[in-house]
Amino acid sequence: MTPGVAEPGIVPAGDPGPAEVTADRGRHADLVRFLGRRVGIGAILVVGTTLVAFLLTQLVPGDPAAANLGQRAISDPAAVQAFRQQNGLDKPLPVQYAIYLGHLLRGNLGTSQQSHRPVSTDLSEYVPATVELALFAIVISLLLGVVFGVLAAVTRDRWPDQVLRVVSLAGVSMPTFWIALVAFYVVFFKLGWVPGGGRLEPGQAPPGHITGLYTVDAALHGQWDLLGSVLQHLVLPGLVLAVYTIGMLLRFTRASVLEVLGNDYVRAARAKGLPEWLVIRRHVLRPALVGIITVAGVAFGSLLSGTVLVENIYSWPGIGQYAFRSATNLDLPAIMGVSLVVAIVYIALNIAVDVLYGVIDPRIRLS
């Protein structure tokens, strides 16, 4: 008997037996321990990323005083000395790192050299735009990737599979920046089907701030016209961004579904006369989902990379564009801020994926 599952007839409903309570408690403790371990490793990784970010700033050949103070102040030795002292630049590296960490803990990511605002203010403005774009793309990718991946596996080696194989490989081989340009040229410039870029029409006021995601905020405020406009702006960059991840998820779904299809229990389900779609949904897709979710986590990461390229072309005011502007202007506090935020999102995502595993596959939960 599986631990925690009451055998009908022995234990009356609503009155868990002692065995079940112990098993439940044990499982709960396991889950907490598992979660704690994962979060602990995640926290260590976050500290590690701050070290990488700090060391990268040290690699820069330029003098931070020169970059921050401007031409006039740099010729004044007293100003330079004051700046160095204020920022702890006259102290040894480990001390500088400790100062940097102290600032980080207080939410101080430094001041952007291009916007002259705190990096954290900049980020809080740009992050929701990117999150909205990436979420839209990952939902589209999961839907299309899983549906077509199952189709490819079911029609293995026949023409739909062959066509989908080429399509998915083309998807992962397409330079994102290029397909973004081609789509922009064809869909906006030639056909005029979608607006030219940005999150809204010029002059259009954004919905009242609740989540920062314009689609959600517009819906919550009941501004349906605005929601339509937001979606129109979202659809092209979102689809372009999804091209790579659709290909990736399609290939992977096909492989994991094929692996599951070979199992005896699938044959048994078919033999007892279940309709094929039910066999796929209930007996094939669920075990295959464990792997698909991992890849979806990786895919989300590659989406965040893709946003750098896509946001630039579609003037999407997100962290991708911000990262790009910072990198080309050598605005190090900004680019380190972006790297940190993205790394933390990435690490959190990996933990979420691990936890989801446990929800989908009880065997993993305990080990």
Binding site: S173, L181, A343
Partner: protein, 291 residues
């Protein structure tokens, strides 16, 4: 019974012949395209109608008989630039995949073989790099080192080696307890000798498949950095940088269309080859195909 077995054996032989990677149409097409681009890269000066950086034509000429791929914003022949672009992307991609493979392979191999603290340090380092999405870390590294092609290559190596380290470490860990490695250790072989003489041949297959698959990614990442202006600098004829030039004049579609197609065909070709190889070697997919 024997008839059944014989029948099975015959079918298996037939299937393995059909599954040989080099008989798959996709792999053959991929290999042909890769070879074609290699020929282009080697003989670019002979094949290209003009000097790729000579500004000797009218600006923005449409593709036609005179200039098959048109001319760009400085009056350079786009066809010549695309052909010369192969001389940058192909060797650099090979170089950085080889470098990542060697660095990641050696570190992963040592980590797997020695275990303990060394293993922990190397793998945590790999985890750290994995914690950043590729292009963001690559951008940060290139920005810190200064935007030029050489630094872009270094940045791509920095973000690519951990994948090899993980793969090799896993393979070494499973090989470490095998009888042939134990016998070699008992005969007094040193750790390094065991690693390079006994374990390396058994690790090489999967690593090479990964490298084949990685070639495409390397070209994408490198051209992406150049597109952002962090890699190749003007007037170098690099595909990503050329697409970027077209992005400024996006109504002149030919300037970015052709270099983009060049990237697509090379990457797709490498992926065709890599994907077929993986199917042929990966026991999980192979098992799925058999059932």
């Amino acid at each position: 019974m024997t008839a059944v077995l014989a029948d099975r054996a015959a079918r298996r032989a037939e299937r393995s012949a059909a599954r040989s990677p080099w008989r798959q149409p996709l792999a053959v097409i991929g290999l042909a395209v890769v070879l074609a681009w290699l020929v282009v890269a080697i003989f670019a000066p002979l094949l290209a109608p003009q000097d790729p950086i000579a500004q000797q034509n009218p600006l923005f000429v449409h593709p036609g008989a005179q200039h098959w791929f048109g001319t760009d914003e400085l009056g350079r022949d786009v066809l010549s630039r695309v052909l010369y672009g192969a001389r940058i992307s192909m060797p650099l991609a090979a170089l950085l995949v080889t470098a990542s493979m060697i660095i990641g392979g050696v570190l992963g191999g040592i980590a797997g073989l020695l275990g303990g603290k060394v293993d922990a340090i190397v793998m945590r380092l790999a985890d750290l790099v994995f914690a950043f999405p590729g292009i963001i870390l690559a951008m940060a590294v290139t920005a810190a080192l200064g935007p030029q092609l050489r630094n872009a290559v270094i940045a791509v190596v920095v973000v690519s080696w951990p994948a090899y380290a993980r793969l090799v470490r896993g393979l070494v860990l499973s090989a470490r307890t095998s009888h042939y490695v134990l016998s070699s250790r008992l005969l007094g072989a040193s750790s390094l000798r065991t690693l390079f003489v006994d374990i390396r041949p058994n690790v090489a297959g999967p690593v090479l498949v990964m490298a084949a698959l990685d070639m495409g990614n390397a070209i994408l990442l490198l051209s992406g950095l150049s597109f952002l202006g962090l890699g190749a600098q003007p007037p170098t004829a690099e595909w990503g940088a050329m697409v970027a030039a077209g992005a400024v004049n996006f109504d002149k579609w030919w300037i970015s269309l052709f270099p983009g197609l060049a990237i697509l065909t090379v990457v797709l070709a490498f992926n065709f080859v890599g994907d077929t190889l993986r199917d042929a070697l990966d026991p999980r997919t192979a098992r799925a195909i058999r059932t």
